[in-house]
Symmetry: C2
Subunit: 430 residues, 2 copies
């Protein structure tokens, strides 16, 4: 009989079906055995009643252990008491593999043990829910961009030069030359927008940073939209539309997953445009009032971000940072040359920065001066300078960190659970 | 006035609009200047007629050079003689930057020069068309998988061990340990399918191969679907459905692009399931008939693939390769232990392999034996062996190379034009 997926059982009420999956857990009531079975698309309670099956099949139901792989057949019953609203009255069970001593038991395990067993931990209900949310978030991002005139442009991972200094770069040998793993595809997409108008890259990025916080991964995924003929205002408009689209669509598509995670979704429902905006300079004044004094010109740390964001129910834009806080390619504010036309988006509830971006300079002279001032290797940037020589235009873009966004939407503590196989300081296995 | 994109001009017939873009080329007819303008979404002919505009504006139309950035305003006219069916009667023009000496002129340039200027070459019409096709192909792949029960699982790029030997791996230092750039996410997604049923990864992969052919890139993108409880037959069914979906949807969405590329689309229209299948052993016999004799047990080279594929109008599956030709994780054919349950998909018209895949072994014993026989580092594979210890199931999957597929669909000669910034032997700039 063809396999039916648990997500589809509602279509088969009263019918005999076959499910192929694994035993998640079991409750023994003597002649009644309740098997909780998962198949990747969901879970269903399977009821084995001794009187309703062969002795051999009931023996198998008694014998089956946690994480055994198995194929069950039975009739779908609607039952409001059951999780998901359905259960399966078992008629036959075939054990594919009887699992012995599955390492992750219902008892508490330490995080190192769980991370060592990440390849198995993924089967646990919360991890399943988080990574389903991740997949929905990525689909929402791509759909938003594809439907709003952005063309996907995969930028290279192996690059000859650093976007923002070389200290946090992974280095490799490229047929006798040095190459580095990318930290951003932005510079490349400043080229592609001159050909395609609006583009985005969406791929892995790498920071060899020795920071071990709950907000950092060594290897993470980032989406970076870039737009020709767009100023900072237009950039912020796209950012708030994108972020609210991601959140509203995830609420729609992942209600079950967010319930498993016990996420307070009322905190997400109101996140619609416009988002509040505060200038860096005003934010410094607000921080002073809040007892988090910081000299003008210094970049925010995590505590400053959290303090500012705590004043809003929605994500907040902090815009016009001092030029010295931001990268060499940022456009100068025409109203105050000390400032850059930059903005970060800070998530509420203490989740910190999820987007950094702004307007890139269109000026060859400014760019040449900055490259010299910051001792960047000019030859490596010749192609990038060409973009200001041949048809330069005002343009803007931003980078949104996928894992930080998923951490925030799921309302979980640590970013390491938002990617299937996290790479953190000291961890590259499995 | 708000910017209108060239793709949308049909909605503005008879209306005054503003387009922001670049000059692609120009025809001088004295008091009439024909400016071909591109904005990334398309091209439109802009007609500057001296009598209909200020002297200053007409001077600007005379002065504007190739790849100058400019903002033009005028009235949209329907005109069947114009490329795209519309033209713009210019009323005003503002030059954002007057470009001097744009390096890529209408004359012929050598490939090295074009690759050195890849950041500019992208603006040329054929390159624009190819990369638009790439973007459509990727969207088609994702939509097919997302709509058929596959969950995206981003597998790691930095890995501790090699999937298939270490000679073609890029190595880097990971906080005192050795790490390698991934060649495939498959092994990881053999873990995730046990949690999610059907998954796929879609990311960059790397081969440090010293081959310089028109079918190889050092850095390329690959989609790798993996399915629990799926045998080789089911795998081939998904492959043929996916490939025909990609092709049919690209034909629908990229008619203009394929026309620019002068692709004979009649060769693509008939590519619908089922695809022909031939066993490796039968293929060897066919090759002998064709005068391309190869001893049984040897893997095919490009000429053999081309010869076999030339016999079919559709892509053809070659299945059940000798186990010795394929990787250690392949399932053995129960009918003949010399054979593996593997299959490659060969594209027609000489484009060669676009998919490799098959059924992975579910057996702990076989896997342990193969790892020992091939001297693979057993500790690095302990987590992978766990997948056969705890709830093993029959499972299958495959990898489709994006750039090879785009090369084939576009009908172009060389794979290097199918990715924005190709990484080939000796090239990592720009």
């Amino acid at each position: 009989m063809d396999q039916v997926y648990i997500r589809d059982v509602a279509k088969y009420i009263g019918q005999q079906i076959t499910i192929k999956g694994w035993l998640y857990n079991k409750t023994d009531k003597g002649r009644l055995q309740f098997l909780m079975i998962r198949d990747g698309t969901g879970m269903i309670q399977v009821v084995a009643f001794k009187k309703e099956m062969t002795a051999e099949a009931f023996e198998a139901a008694l014998a089956v252990t946690q994480e055994s792989s198995l194929i069950v057949s039975g009739i779908v019953r609607q039952d409001e008491r059951a999780a998901g609203g359905f259960e399966l009255s078992l008629s036959d069970i075939q054990i594919v593999q009887l699992t012995q001593d599955y390492p992750i038991t219902p008892k508490e395990h330490g995080i190192d043990f769980l991370m060592d067993n990440r390849h198995l931990w993924l089967r646990s209900r919360n991890q399943w829910a988080i990574l389903r949310v991740r997949s929905a978030v990525i689909r929402a991002i791509r759909d938003y961009l594809d439907n709003n005139g952005f063309i996907l442009m995969d930028t290279p991972i192996l690059t000859p030069a650093a976007c923002e200094g070389t200290t946090t770069l992974f280095e490799t040998e490229y047929f006798g030359e040095k190459a580095y793993l990318t930290q951003s595809g932005q510079l490349y997409n400043e080229a592609t927008i001159m050909a395609f108008g609006r583009t985005y890259c969406f791929g892995p990025a790498f920071r060899a940073e020795k920071s071990k916080t709950r907000r950092h991964l060594i290897e993470f995924w980032m989406v970076e939209p870039e737009m020709a003929y767009a100023d900072l205002e237009e950039c912020l408009r796209v950012e708030e539309n994108l972020v609210s689209y991601i959140i509203q669509r995830t609420l729609e598509e992942c209600a079950e997953e967010l319930k498993i995670l016990e996420r307070d979704t009322s905190r997400l429902e109101g996140i619609v445009p416009p988002f509040p905006r505060i200038s860096y300079t005003d934010a410094i004044a607000v921080l002073k009032e809040m007892g988090e004094e910081l000299p003008w010109g210094e970049d925010f740390g995590a505590p400053h971000e959290v303090a500012i964001a705590s004043r809003y129910d929605k994500p907040v834009f902090v815009h016009r940072y001092p030029a010295q806080c931001k990268a060499f390619y940022m456009e100068t504010d025409p109203l105050d040359p000390q400032l850059s036309l930059s903005a970060d988006l800070l998530a509420p509830e203490g989740y910190g920065e999820i987007i950094g971006g702004g307007q890139r300079t269109a000026s060859l002279e400014l760019l040449e001066r900055r490259i010299a001032e910051q001792n960047l290797p000019r030859e490596a940037f010749e192609w990038y300078l060409d973009l200001r020589r041949y048809g330069t235009v005002p343009h803007s873009g931003f980078g949104l960190g996928v894992e930080r966004t998923v951490t925030f939407i799921c309302g979980i503590h640590h970013i390491r659970e938002t990617i299937p196989f996290p790479r953190t300081l000291g961890r590259i296995y499995p």
